[in-house]
């Protein structure tokens, strides 16, 4: 459930830039067939026993007992092609589970920014951008992406809440050098700093690397077909 901001009838865009939703887009671009977002490490382990690839992150690191966490580089391996991935992360998978009331749940990141924006413009539904944040709190990088999306959609939607305008203002204050703005100011970056994730972060802040939109279908993310995302020029 998304308190105060009902998901009913809306397309919910789940955003966890560092790094769950960036990973999901990367995975589909490398041929992954589907991604099952799971809440617990135990559940993730069970999917591994059924032959899925199991990816698990806790507190920015690969969870103990797993080989893959949520570095986008882990999902670029050609051995991923056609596979199903079970993924659990600190914030991103929880955000997906809160969105069950939505008309549709899609995955947003800088990596698929423009194609996602075009898709949202082509649909009749209202849009709710759900930033995963960090353990229930807002964070900088997800809010900035939400602002980028508001900027892209501004001629096609009006916004209902001040949060959309605030995110847009933040994006416009930071867009000249997103990496510098985020690494200078983000509390999440400070948490991740010791983990040497600058390469991951730089990757996740690139616009339009992969024209893929992950979408929830019957409990798993799949890649939206290109016909669905085509919009009139």
């Amino acid at each position: 459930m998304i308190k105060h901001y009902g998901a009913e009838g809306k397309i919910v865009v789940v955003v966890d830039i560092l790094r769950a939703t960036s990973c999901m887009v990367t995975a589909f671009a490398h041929g992954v067939k589907s991604i099952i977002p799971v809440a617990s490490l135990e559940e993730c382990e069970q999917y591994r026993n059924k032959g899925c690839i199991a990816a698990a992150e806790r507190d920015g690191k690969i969870a103990k007992g797993f080989d893959i966490g949520n570095s986008p580089y882990s999902f670029m391996d050609t051995s991923m092609k056609g596979k199903t991935v079970a993924l659990t992360t600190t914030n991103g998978t929880f955000a997906i589970q809160r969105s069950t009331a939505a008309e549709e749940v899609v995955i947003g990141s800088f990596l698929n920014r423009t194609i996602l924006g075009n898709y949202l413009i082509s649909q009749p539904n209202d849009v709710l951008v759900l930033c995963a944040g960090w353990k229930g709190k807002m964070n900088l990088e997800d809010t900035i992406f939400a602002g980028a999306l508001v900027e892209d959609l501004k001629n096609h939607f009006y916004y209902e809440n001040d949060s959309a305008f605030c995110a847009q203002t933040l994006y416009n204050s930071s867009k000249k050098d997103l990496f510098k703005f985020i690494t200078s100011n983000s509390s999440h970056y400070k948490r991740l700093k010791s983990l040497n994730l600058d390469k991951d972060i730089k990757f996740c802040l690139q616009n339009d690397v992969y024209p893929f939109i992950p979408v929830m279908k019957e409990g798993a993310l799949v890649s939206m077909t290109m016909e669905s995302v085509k919009v009139d020029e």
Copy 2:
């Protein structure tokens, strides 16, 4: 209870710029003895029957059956001197009630901005700025004031959450013309527009009009004594 951001041991600054906390500061500047924040109109009515001045706002307007709402101009009357006011508003009084776990609850507004900042700097406690927002959602004007406070405290505190940095960025984007920024972009302003409250809003956006800090003591707001707020120059 303040979810995710514990109030324990902290000074909580409650902020409801349009207009509850601006009114509270104005009221003390005009000699009001104490303000009892109450949740319901019924409770407010009961205090009136006990001889208090009853002020009640709902959805931006004076609540039915009351003479005073939350226009700061209503609290400038000399007849207020020495009186106790029972006040209920849509968002501000609820925010106060959520802060009971705090070490101390104080009231913030542009009207008492600098003296409040100086007081916070003089105290050993961490500070949590609680924006009342609008019916559970964030709003622009409270967030901008939180950012003004972050700006004033930046050499004395470090911030724990990205929300403080985001608020500061918003304040710095808007400070050249707060009135224009807020009236062009705030959803709350759009709600209030038909009520012709521009005069109230202009008043509430002025810095340092009244050197008073309302503080909660045994269920009521009183004005902090000047000795408590004195800081070394």
